[in-house]
Structures are given as C-alpha cells and as structure tokens.
C-alpha cells in the first residue's frame, strides 16, 4: 500500500528525547488546515508549515485526518511501519441466548440487522455504525462484543516532525471512527511529549468528517484558489468553521490562476475571515512532490517557499507560539 514511497531521506536532525512533564494547564496549539475544494494544496501547505515550525525549534505533530485519501506520508517520503488497528464495535449474536424477539433489529436505525422469525438475527456489517443500540435493548444478553477493523493509525517521523496518519480500510465507510482515534491518540502523545503545535490536515469538503477534524482547533486555515470552484467551496468551509465557532483565516494558493479575486475577498469579508497570504504558481512545488521532500528544504528560495514562510510567520503570531 505504501510501496510508492521513495526511500527514506537522510535524517537531518532528530528530536532530543527528554521526558516531558506537562505543566499545569499545558495545552498544545492546534492548527487545522482545510479548504473545501479538493486539490487546492492543503497537504503541501501542511507539511511545509510543519517543517518550518519544526526548524524554528517547535515540537510539532502533524496529523493526517484525510483518512480516505491520506497524503502526508507520501509528500514527506516518510517510512510507514505497521499500523495500529482502529476497531469498531460489531455485535455478535449468541445463538444460545437469543430469543429472536427482534428488538435489536427494531432499535438499529441503520437497518444493519435483519430479524428472521425464529432465528438468530442476520447482520450486515457494512451498515453497522458500531453504536451499540442492539446490545442496549437485548433482553436476553445475547449481543456479544465483537469488533471490526475499520482502519489503521501509523506513527512516523520525518525531518524532526512527528507524524500521525489515519487510514480508512478500503471498502469501509467508518472514517469518523478513524479520525476520532487519530485525534485522541494525538492528544495522548502530546501529554507524553509536550508538543508546541499539532497541525491537522483534513479531507476536502465540508461534511461531518471535516467538522470532526476541525473541532477543538485554535485556528482554521482554509487553503483555496481563486477559481470559481475554489471560491464556491471556500464559502462552504468558512461557514462550517463559523458554525463551529472557530477562528479562521484564508490563504490563496496558485494565486495567479485566472479567477475572481474581488469575489474571493467578498467571501472572506462575509465570514470575517482574514486573508493571510497568497502563494504563486511555482513549478518547484510539483518537483518537491515528485522528490517526496519538503519544498522549503529543497527550494527555500522559490517563489512558493517565500510565500509559505511569510504565511508561517503570520500564523506564528496568530497562534502566539
């Protein structure tokens, strides 16, 4: 699955392992990177910001919450070991205890349980949300706790940045369970290691997975482009960030693409979102993707790098790092 990744780049500086004792009220800053439209450059910006902050001496955890198309490790050429399974509750019906009353089937609002009269219920695992309603209502204690693997979490490290990557199992739909686990594990690691900053890379769109990924962040950075698609979807994602009562700002990637900068500005104003920078089209970005290395490392003087560094400084102030 990760076969495409090129070999691990040389390790340049490794984090000093010092036991971290969280002080009273310790809380890492959380920066979420999202955008609405797909392919606007969320992950590119996330990995390069992480690289910048890490080089600037901050302890950074970068989490990939785009669990159905994770790309953080690919962009950093990070070696991924064996993942940790993300499991979800799946009922097992005990034939010996089941009285075929059908209450579980009635309680399941996902229609994942079919009660055949006189038999043990039949489960459609792909429809099961893992909510446990069936086990709550069973009068015969016949619902045993089983589990299904819905995805994996991988821990990795690249260029002094700790990575936490969620991956949804193919043909599974329970992305929320994987995202939740990535977030929880991120907070656990943070308690141990004392991150200054957690960067969360989200999926495109403005649906519940994105809402879950954004939740609890100190600042939401929406990466967009000036095209009609970019602006349309920016409007949606900023509305979501506002609904969640989160602070947000916008960066315009590929800013020199033909588009409508006036309309883009209007959308930002409508949501009181701060325009935090513009990043120009730059061939070096694709070059860095192909090399699977940070743009800022290989092409620090490129147009896009300079713009990202400017953005990073702006975010530094915003998050009071």
């Amino acid at each position: 699955m990760w076969g495409l990744l090129t070999s691990q780049p040389p390790e340049i500086e490794s984090l000093k392992i010092v036991k971290f004792y969280p002080s009273e009220g310790y809380k890492p800053k959380i920066l979420a990177i999202t955008g609405g439209k797909g392919g606007t450059g969320k992950t590119t910006i996330a990995v390069n910001l992480a690289f910048y902050f890490s080089r600037a001496g901050k302890k950074v955890l970068l989490t990939d919450c785009d669990v159905d198309a994770p790309s953080v490790a690919t962009l950093l050429g990070a070696k991924i070991g064996d993942g940790e399974e993300v499991n979800q509750f799946l009922p097992i019906f005990d034939e010996n205890r089941c009285i075929s009353c059908g209450k579980c089937s009635e309680a399941c609002r996902m229609h994942a349980i079919l009660q055949v009269p006189g038999k043990t219920p039949l489960l459609f695992p792909e429809l099961c949300l893992g909510c446990g309603a069936c086990s709550l209502v069973c009068p015969a204690d016949a619902v045993l706790e089983g589990k299904k693997v819905v995805g994996w979490i991988y821990e990795a490290e690249a260029y002094g940045i700790d990575l936490l990557i969620g991956e949804l199992k193919l043909n599974e739909r329970e992305s929320e369970a994987v995202i939740k686990e990535v977030k929880e594990k991120g907070m656990r690691l943070s308690e141990e290691r004392g991150y200054d900053l957690i960067i969360v890379d989200t999926a495109p769109g403005a649906h519940c997975d994105v809402a879950l990924s954004l939740k609890e962040s100190d600042f939401v950075l929406a990466v967009t482009e000036p095209t009609p698609f970019g602006i349309h979807d920016l409007d949606l994602i900023l509305e979501l960030a506002s609904l969640l009562k989160l602070k947000h700002g916008v960066v315009v990637n590929r800013a020199d693409l033909p588009g409508d900068h006036k309309l883009l500005k209007e959308v930002c104003e409508k949501h009181s979102s701060k325009l935090m920078g513009k990043i120009p089209v730059d061939d070096k970005v694709v070059e860095s993707h192909v090399r699977s290395r940070p743009l800022l490392l290989d092409f620090p003087e490129s147009k896009a790098s300079r713009a990202i560094i400017k953005l990073a400084k702006e975010l530094w102030r915003e998050l009071s790092l």
Partner: protein, 295 residues
Amino acid sequence: MKEAVVVSGKGGVGKTTLSASLGWLMAKRMNLVMVDVDVDAPNLSLVIGGTLKNSLPIEATEKAFILEEKCNGCGNCAEKCPEEAIQILEGKAVVSRLFCSGCGVCSLVCPESAIELRLVANGRLDLYEIPSGFVLLVGKLMIGESGSGKLVSEVKERARHLARERGADLLLIDGPPGAGCPAISAVSGASHAIMVTEPTPAAFRNLKRIFSIIRHFGANPGLIINKANLHEPIKQEEIRFAKREGIEVLGEVPLDDYVPKSLAMGKPVVEAFPYASASLAIKKIFGNFLEYLES
C-alpha cells in the same frame, strides 16, 4: 441505459473539469442526464451553467430531538452518546446537530422518553436545464451534515429515475474525491467508472485506493491522465499500472492555461477554446470514451 461515474481518489485532479467537457460533447451525440454527487462541494453547475428549474430538500438522515418539557437533565443520553454529541446545559439535554449520527442510543437510554428521532433534510437536489440540451441534477449536502453517503445514494436513485423517464442513453455522474463513504456510494451500481488522475505520487497512491473500490463493485474501469506533462516517469508508471490491472486508458490531457481560463469564464474548455491543446486531447478522449461505453 449506461451509467458512468467519474472519480479520482485525490481531489483537485480535474474530475469536474473533464466531466463538464465530456458532458458538453456527449449532449450533442446522445440523450444525456448528468448528476453532480460531490455533495460536499458541488461545482459542476458553475462550469456548465443552465437555468435552475427546481430545488427540493432531501431527507436522508435522522437526528435526535429533545422534548424539553419531558427532559429531566439526568445526563444518561450525554454519557451514552457514541458521538459525544449531547451536552447538558442548564438542566436540559442539547444535541449538537453537526455531530449527531442518528443512531438513537440516546432515545433508548432516556428514562423519560424525552428524545425523538426525526427524519431531517440533510441535503438538497437542484435541477438545471442546460442550453445545449440536457438536464443536470446537483446534490448538495447541508454544511457539516453527516450522511453524505446516504445522500449520494438518494440523489443517484432520483437521477436514475429521471434518466429513465427521459429515455436517456447515458447517466454521467461527477463523483466526490476520496475513497470513503460518499465515493463508495457514487461507484456502487455504475456500469463504467472513469478514474481521473495526474502524474504525482499522491494522486497515484489514491488512484490505487479508488480502483480497489471500483473493482469491488465490478464497474468497467477507465483512466484519464490529466495534467499529463507534470511528470513523465510517474505517468508511465500509472499507464503500466492501468495495463496490468486491465484498466482502459482513455487518454491524457496536457497542462494548458486555457483550462483555468475557461473555468474562470464558467464554461467547459471544449466550448470556450475548442482548439486549445487540452480541448483537442479531450475530444480524442471523447472518441475513446464512446467506444469504451460500448464495452
């Protein structure tokens, strides 16, 4: 009736741009219904235009509602909610609509029967008449809503119905990015699944993911490589992958400044700049696409 879905794994590789152009060419040849099921970020209507004829809410999800007069604020629901979507505020349970999955556990554990599950609209279906002679349906998820997979299925079901009613030859579906719930729902039931990719490591990796979904459902797979001159070796690797897996390579589209220009004009590139290098490539792909549809 054939049903072809356009998907990609990675977002932003050009699904909608290519769907718009293929649809525009297709409408001249056959009776077409198009549907945009990228319900989170539906963009097809921005480039195809047309007049909005109808818009109706779609109820594809349930949410918990607290009957305040009955709620005693005991907190059982908040404790058992698997989504942590319930809080007790000023002695009453409050459901966060954004995070409620409609599982109903809260209503089962409520001692006062103070929680009801109600079907709510989580999306909308818009119908556009397109001047070049076809119909476009657009599914839209309300901001932050759950149930996008169910909404995709519902929108597709209605699109199929409309396409059959109109005696359409083809239902062309512009799908969502990713390989999760909405993408699975988009691919399910399609006779043909066209993957759009670009020659970059992230796009290639996610192409493989969506291909696994397509194979699972048994749709006939096709591939278009967009922005093909981004990187020659990865492009070659993608073509080898397609050949190995029995994926029909429908063609490639070069990087072309006229593509973003046409998008800024709100038109498919084949309409706005018919002789641009991207348009010529898409027309060639269109020829292959017609043959591929017969397979």
